[in-house]
């Protein structure tokens, strides 16, 4: 759902606008709407989430209606429509990963971070959520962290602790 509580006024840097232009050039004349998904990924990587203002500005850039951006942003689950922690830990919760302990990992993550799915830790560093099959079933349980979607495979409680400690100390 689009955020009604939060907004963030954004400005696209010239570097970002160059990246937009490079994406648009992949498609035939008049088909610039095809660039929408890649551009939303670029915006999310830059600002951490898709604020209503950011989406409106993407619509302006592509010459499409804001609703065309909203309907896409709300359809695809990778787009984050609320402010998030600096690191969003996304754990696969689908069948094959559950056969090898994904549910245990999610419970552990909830206890370790002390926040429920979708919430942000008090220090603003972490949020987590269960996501559907990440196509890494042979290496489960797995989690990923955007914006580069680095994978962490064959998770155990200990390796999750280590990962969180590493990310915390990297920031401090």
């Amino acid at each position: 759902m689009l955020s009604v509580k939060h907004n963030e006024i954004v400005e696209f840097s010239s570097t970002l606008l160059d990246q937009f232009a490079e994406v648009v050039a992949r498609f035939p004349e008049g088909r610039q709407k095809s660039a929408l998904l890649p551009i939303l990924h670029l915006v999310q990587a830059e600002f951490g989430w898709l604020s209503p203002d950011a989406m409106n500005k993407v619509a302006g850039y592509l010459g499409i209606e804001p609703i065309e951006v909203y309907e896409v942003a709300t359809f695809y689950t990778m787009y984050l429509l609320q402010p998030q922690g600096k690191y969003v830990l996304e754990v696969c919760r689908t069948g094959p990963c559950c056969l090898v302990g994904a549910e245990r990992i999610m419970t552990h993550l909830e206890n370790k971070l002390g926040v429920k799915e979708g919430e942000v830790t008090a220090d603003g560093l972490f949020s987590w959520r269960g996501v559907e099959c990440l196509a890494a079933c042979g290496y489960g349980p797995v989690l990923q962290i955007g914006p580069e979607y680095t994978f962490y495979e064959n998770l155990t409680e200990a390796s999750v602790d280590q990962l969180i400690d590493d990310l915390s100390s990297k920031t401090n």
Binding site: R26, P28, R31, K33, S34, A35, L36, L37, P38, L40, H41, E68, E71, V72, F75, Y76, T77, M78, Y79, R93, T94, G95, P96, C98, L99, V100, V131, E132, C133, L134, A135, A136, C137, G138, Y139, G140, Q144, G146, P147, E148, Y149, T150, F151
Partner: protein
């Protein structure tokens, strides 16, 4: 050692790079088609190979290509389906990660055969590392003259771009993928018209799976007839199998079609048996959508024949006693796994991933999820089993795209083969919350069929 066609050089250090891939004989197929073959020759060769689509449907690739409309003055497109989202399937991720140039080489060969000058590789957005790998590979191939204008002096021009998805299982369905590539929600289109007539931007388009496209490389190098010699019946060539669940060695394996399921599970060359010394309870052989089979039916067909990894043998017995090759997502369940819980998990997945266009799927998947959750958490009633059966039956075949069937089949198969486990959950809710039903009789030899 098993023969390898797609993963031949998987262990060669640096095979991700153009330089090493080329040293190992890579891009010979591109040279061969551009210098010695017409586009129609390439299509014929792929037809001869008997290659069937590796994404799940198993439709003959050469035939799909031959349906492509070729009106004058209208561009044609090849779109590679790298959306790989079917639970249990991770072979395309493996291929794109480790041998990206095998996909690019296949893309060039296939694009040439179809007369496409712009081709897209649609990769699910979560595979951002693989997208980076492919983008780099494209730059390398272009720098070496295998992409761009006038490739190898042949006069043939081709550009390939990688497009990220953004988290939607439905975009693996080819018309939803095309909608997504056009920058829209991934709502499947009503067919006809098929993409071969009106696909991307309304132009003739072929959508092929990553593995299917990569398979055109050995087909061109060795000839379609050689490829067709591998395998059994209409299951020709090699296939990548993604093995997951409770196995000693889960992972991606390239097999000759025709290998027995038993050898695949228990041989040290493949999965090495069931993990932690446990016994096998059930297998989903082709990704979460295909029917789950208990041990006795996955190892042998109802006729008592050894079950083989082929399109025909896995489907032997229809949905009564068989399953399907699907995408080759082979999920093994050990004796401690709960079939009810897994069925609920899969139903939740399909509910989450339903695009919402068709009422039977939008409403039915959520309803099945709720009923299964009720049974799993000890609040079920025996009539719920009939209710589930009724819901799945009303979804199957009544939706625009196959997601409805994909959601219905796992529920139907779980009830068909594991009904007593569902009944046990309902009749003994306290037990069901504290322990599992176990292996029960699911590995017992089947009684011979009396005709």
């Amino acid at each position: 050692m098993a023969r390898k066609l797609l993963l031949t050089h998987i262990d060669v250090p640096g095979i991700q790079t153009f330089e090493v891939y080329r040293q190992q004989g890579g891009y010979r197929a591109v040279e061969k088609v551009l210098k010695t073959m017409s586009p129609d020759d390439v299509v014929e060769e792929v037809k001869k190979s008997g290659l069937r689509g590796r994404g799940g449907a198993g439709f003959p690739t050469g035939m799909k290509w031959s349906f492509l409309a070729k009106p004058e003055g209208v561009p044609r497109y090849l779109v590679c389906n790298g959306d790989e989202s079917e639970p249990g399937t991770f072979k395309d991720r493996f291929l794109m990660t480790h041998i990206p140039h095998a996909l690019l080489e296949g893309m060039i060969v296939s694009s040439y055969a179809l007369g496409a000058h712009t081709s897209y590789i649609y990769v699910r957005g979560e595979m951002m590392p693989q997208i980076r790998i492919l983008e780099r590979a494209i730059q390398e191939a272009k720098a070496a003259g295998f992409l761009g204008n006038n490739i190898l002096g042949s006069g043939y021009d081709l550009e390939i771009y990688v497009q990220p998805g953004a988290g939607a299982y439905i975009c693996g369905e080819e018309t939803a993928l095309l909608e997504s590539l056009e920058g829209k929600r991934g709502n499947p289109r009503i067919k006809p018209p098929f993409p071969a007539i009106a696909g991307l931007y309304g132009c003739p388009t072929v959508v092929n799976n990553v593995e299917s496209i990569a398979a055109t490389v050995p087909i061109i190098n060795d000839g379609g007839e050689e490829y067709a010699k591998i395998g059994i019946e209409r299951s020709t060539g090699t296939k990548l199998i993604s093995a997951s669940g409770n196995l000693v060695k889960p992972g991606v394996y390239e097999i000759d079609l025709g290998l027995s399921v038993e050898e695949f599970i228990y041989s040290d060359e493949y999965c090495g048996g069931i993990a932690n010394g446990k016994r096998l309870k059930a297998v989903v052989p082709g990704g979460s959508s295909v029917p789950i089979l208990p041990t006795n039916l996955i190892l042998k067909t109802a006729n008592g024949n050894s079950r083989l990894m082929t399109y025909e043998s896995l489907a032997d017995g229809g949905f009564q006693t068989g399953s399907s090759m699907g995408s080759g997502g082979f999920i093994a369940f050990d004796e401690d796994q709960c079939i009810v819980r897994n069925t609920w998990n899969f139903s939740r997945f399909y509910h989450h991933e339903s695009c919402g266009q068709c009422s039977p799927c939008r409403e039915g998947t959520g309803w099945m999820e709720k009923v299964l959750h009720k049974i799993e958490t000890g609040h079920g009633d025996l009539s719920d089993i009939e209710l589930l059966w009724d819901i799945q039956r009303r979804i199957e075949g009544n939706t625009i795209c196959p997601l409805g069937d994909a959601a219905a089949w796992p529920v139907a198969a779980a009830i068909r083969h594991f009904r007593d486990e569902f009944e046990w959950h309902i009749n003994h809710p306290e037990d069901a919350l504290t322990r599992n039903y176990g292996l029960a009789h699911y590995a017992d030899p089947l009684a011979p069929i009396v005709s």
